[in-house]
């Protein structure tokens, strides 16, 4: 099963830092996501993209996770030479993860 099947995500950017939310469609899947989708797993899954540290925040009140990924946007939005300088499409790269 892919994350895509049970959860959704939005990517955001701050300088060279990428933020990825992970939100289960069913709040009852939250604890399973906490268990399976660790910061290490996200870093390994996106190793071609994220060069720095990944920190995971848990938000039980809204049953959501947030991954904050350092050095992930090829020098940052304003000076990047990649197609998607904001990393806006990367939410769907996260959702490709098999669990």
């Amino acid at each position: 099963m892919k994350l895509y099947d049970i959860a959704h995500s939005r990517a955001g950017d701050k300088g060279n830092t990428l933020t990825l939310s992970l939100i289960p469609y069913k709040e009852s899947d939250y604890s399973m996501l906490c268990e399976k989708v660790t910061a290490e797993k996200v870093k390994a899954h996106l190793k071609e993209i994220i060069k720095g540290e990944v920190v995971r925040y848990e938000l039980p009140n809204i049953a959501s996770l947030l991954f904050v990924c350092q050095q992930a946007l090829s020098t940052g939005v304003t000076t990047s030479w990649v197609m998607d300088a904001h990393g806006k499409t990367l939410s769907y790269a996260l959702l490709e993860m098999e669990i």
């Binding site: 895509y4 959704h8 995500s9 939005r10 955001g12 950017d13 701050k14 300088g15 060279n16 830092t17 933020t19 939310s21 939100i23 469609y25 899954h45 996106l46 190793k47 071609e48 993209i49 925040y57 938000l59 009140n61 809204i62 959501s64 947030l66 904050v68 940052g76 939005v77 304003t78 000076t79 030479w81 990649v82 197609m83 998607d84 499409t89 990367l90 790269a93 490709e96």
Partner: protein, 439 residues
């Protein structure tokens, strides 16, 4: 003191649609309309326009937005708060007065200035991102401090119809009218934290109402061509009810709100604005009715002693060229085309970015699937020299007659790049001032 105010957000970035704000004013029964139009880089670009023309430097869509909104705003008694002043709020206010006079409308406009700290900033101050002195990045073009609510509050007290700012933290555009209406003080950190949550939810406009959310078959959103932009009914206790005008497209549900709550947040325990360090982890959401979500919680404890300054610098040029290949062995021909360009430019541009759009251009090769039927080669470079940057497009274009078979649809671009880095400044050094003009 009021018990409730309704604040709408009719634009979430400079290039946003024009019509949702008009619908909000005409049918939203708003007290305040906010238009958030200033991204990190926008102000540096505006500063460059101002250098060429002292009357320029405000948002390029200001005139079109005001032409549409001015009469309904005044008729419906909705106050407008916007950062469309960009690098030149004073000139923006003057332009609004000019439009009002032509339309024979009475309007009072307050410009909030004081964010421009280019002359007072220390160029050897460390950059937050790299710890290197600011000047090492390149020639500095602009330096704008993120101001908080102070200037907007003062402008609200003048009873201005329109308040136009330069760089102000996005949530402050929303928190200021809440403070003004409910008598919250600058030390009511818990309430400011709650208000900041609501401001953060609204600041990207359509991103709360189903925009940037839809995925057909999985997350369906109705009538996105007519997406309604959001408003919030804020209570004096800092709780809010999110909604949109009936009959508009889009949707508001727990999922759209969760996606936006966490958007661009780097620490949900400590979301920094000039007004408050807000906690987003205590936020609770409840679907109240169709397209209505109640927002409770959120908190704040203090405010930072320093303000963030966004510094724009000359970062050279981005040169790009693109060409498409299709049919059997499209990937093979595109790959060969990229190798040819690389070899041709090796001596002058040893560092080239080669992408196959449709195959690996945004997520790399980790998620590679079957070969696409068509693929677009993109070659890019970054260089301090504009003519070198242009060489990339020229070489890609020359593939027409010198490269692999069947290449088509060449586009070439050279863009001047403005880099943005950040530094901190003592907040005592940033003094907001207001300039009031009437038609």
């Amino acid at each position: 003191m009021k018990e409730k105010i309704r604040v709408g957000c009719g634009a979430g970035f400079s290039g946003d649609r024009l019509d949702p704000a008009v619908i909000l004013v005409e049918h939203g029964e708003l007290d305040y309309l906010v238009l958030e139009c200033l991204a990190e880089r926008t102000i540096a670009l505006a500063q460059k326009r101002k250098l060429q023309n002292p009357q320029a430097g405000y948002d390029p869509l200001l005139e079109r937005r005001i032409e549409l909104l001015l009469e309904p705003l005044l008729r419906k008694r909705v106050k407008l708060i916007t950062n469309m002043g960009a690098a030149n709020p004073q000139a923006a206010a003057g332009k609004i007065i000019e439009i009002a006079k032509r339309k024979k409308l009475q309007v009072k406009v307050a410009a909030v200035v004081g964010d421009d700290v280019l002359t007072s900033i220390d160029p050897t101050a460390p950059t937050l991102e790299t710890s290197q002195p600011l000047v090492t990045h390149g020639s500095l073009i602009s330096a704008n401090a993120y101001m908080g609510v102070e200037g907007i509050l003062e402008a609200l007290q003048t009873n201005a119809d329109i308040i136009i700012t330069g760089r102000v933290a996005d949530p402050s555009l929303f928190v200021a009218p809440m403070m003004h209406a409910f008598g919250w003080t600058e030390q009511n950190y818990d309430l400011l934290g709650k208000g900041t949550v609501l401001g953060h939810l609204l600041e990207c406009a359509g991103q709360l109402t189903g925009g940037y959310y839809a995925d057909p078959g999985k997350k369906d959103v109705p009538d996105m061509a007519h997406l309604g932009h959001p408003f919030v009914d804020v209570q004096a206790d800092g709780s809010g009810m999110l909604g949109k005008v009936k009959g508009t497209g889009g949707l508001i549900n727990l999922d759209t709100v969760k996606e936006q709550l966490l958007y661009e947040v780097v620490n949900p325990h400590a979301y920094y604005t000039p007004d408050v360090i807000a906690d987003f982890t205590s936020v609770k959401l409840m679907q109240h009715a169709q397209d209505e979500v109640k927002v409770m919680g959120g908190a704040g404890q203090s405010k930072p002693n320093t303000l963030k300054v966004s510094v724009g610098y000359q970062a050279g040029y981005l040169g790009e060229g693109e060409i498409t290949y299709a049919g059997t062995n499209a990937v093979g021909r595109a790959t060969l085309a990229g190798e040819i360009v690389k070899e041709r430019l090796r001596s002058v541009l040893p560092d080239l970015r080669i992408d196959l759009i449709g195959q690996n251009s945004v997520h790399g090769n980790a998620f590679h699937r079957n070969e696409p039927y068509e693929v677009r080669l993109r070659v890019a470079t970054k260089t301090s020299d504009a003519s070198l940057a242009a060489l990339v497009g020229e070489e890609v274009e020359a593939l027409y007659t010198n490269g692999p078979g069947g290449g088509g649809g060449v586009r070439k671009y050279v863009h001047e790049t403005i880099g943005i880095v950040s530094t901190l400044i003592d907040r005592q050094l940033v003094k907001p001032q207001i300039i009031v003009k009437t038609s």
